[in-house]
Amino acid sequence: MSSFIELAGKLDWSPLWISLKTGVVATIISFFLGLWAARKVIKRDYKAKSIIDGILTLPMVLPPTVAGFFLLLLFSRRRPIGIFLNDKFDIQVVHTWLGCILAATVIAFPLMYRNARAAFEQIDANLVYAGRTLGMSELAIFWRIVVPTAGPGIASGTILTFARAMGEYGATSMLAGNIPGKTGTVSQRIAMVIQDGDYMTAGFWVIIVLIIAFIAVFTINMITGRHMKNIRKW
């Protein structure tokens, strides 16, 4: 135990901050994109829905390395988009923190989108119609009626997105790499120290990840659980 505390004292904490920052930014992006995509998709007919839904969900079911491969293919500085971003805007994606965010967003986005979509589909359509006949704008209906009513589903989607984005490994290691203090996230640090045989440091990071993950899931249960008090046990 004492050696653990000693370890914490001289530890490089940068992976935690990088992971948290990446998680927060990727979650914010996924939140708005996910709500927007969910709103668009539920308006489509059944066929278009299945196709678009399939594409948007793919990053969740594919191995993250496959997503990393595609991201590299797009943003490599030897590829048209990478060259364009670099020359026109001086933006580099590969081996930068931006790469961390991009990888985490792509992988975590489906969780936000799917949860938002499921929550939207549960909403009584009459609420939306009522808003319309009362003269409310579509934007006001969405933000003041739909999103609050879908609140628990959206909240749990947001937390899951954050947890997934924070822990992202596969795509991140391919696109952003593991540059200490820059792109070195917690999950990459764990993999690295294990390769060095430093199980003590790995265990320390594992405990931190466990705590954050548990808090995330516990928070979801608290948020959604409040609405389920009246459900009968069976």
Partner: protein, 354 residues
Amino acid sequence: MSRLYADIHKRIEGFELDVLIESDAGRIGILGSSGSGKSMTLRSIAGIEDGVSGRIETDGRTLLDSENKINLKPQQRRVGYMFQNYALFPTMSVLGNVTAGLKGSKEDNRARALEMLARFGMAEHAERMPGELSGGQQQRVALARIMVTEPDLILLDEPFSALDGHLRDRMQVEMMEMLEEYPGQVIMVSHSRDELYRFSEELFVLSEGRILRHGETKDVFRNPKTAEAARLTGCKNFADVRALDKNTLEIMDWGVILKLKQEIPEGTSNIGYRAHYFEPVWGQRQENCIEFDLARVDDLPFEKNYYIRTHEDSDASSTDLICWFVQGEVQRQIEEKGMPDWLKLKEEAILFLG
């Protein structure tokens, strides 16, 4: 004077709606069973149903004119819609619900909403959430939310179906009071003839997407003209008839030849007879009487329902039995003298159907 003109067409798989509602009555009723297209009609007027063609005008304002490619958004139609489940926004307070559709300043909206809530006796509940209200209170909030936006037309979609029986009667009276000061037209759709008889001045009877009959409400009940319309207005007994001459009508299955003072309307092929209108006769057979056997009795709190079979139709199945519903004075007479020997048909109660 406000005037509604709604010529509505919509075709979906297995169903076609084709109705014309034209009326300057203040209170309009649409009577129909479930699946008749009555909610779809209201939704078309409000603009929340897709794929509707035709022409809809209120007060000379065109809401829909598919020939001239006019189709106002629901937001622009100024048509208030009360949903069957009231559709109160669950995450907003009562006050939030009533101010949701208002455009002015925050204080202004608040004042207007509170005034409207006070009119409906709901001001003290302004800060509560919809889930904490009773069904009747929710209905008042839903109506306040509509009225505060000052719509040109108010649509009520089965407004009492979500309420418990005892509350339903009270809310019907309350609803009429709440709407008393509203100057525009109100359309109520329902499957309940009682609600519409009480509420509407003009009645449209809807079945399978078509208007079967329309007219002044009491007139529609007195003379529904078709069997389906008669059934929807609550008529229980139907029989095929044959006119023997201008004033004589044979009801084959009931074994009676009716002698009538009035002329039988041309094209009469069957008649309807309401269950409450048979007159019991003891002893000597009189004119226009039928002979019957009792098949079943249902005891209700304030009424006895007798189900009878005529001699001519003695193999009638249980669904073809003639209904005779008895209350009050007549019921007392039967308790005293026993079952009557004959049932007399009153001429004025006969519905001539084509």
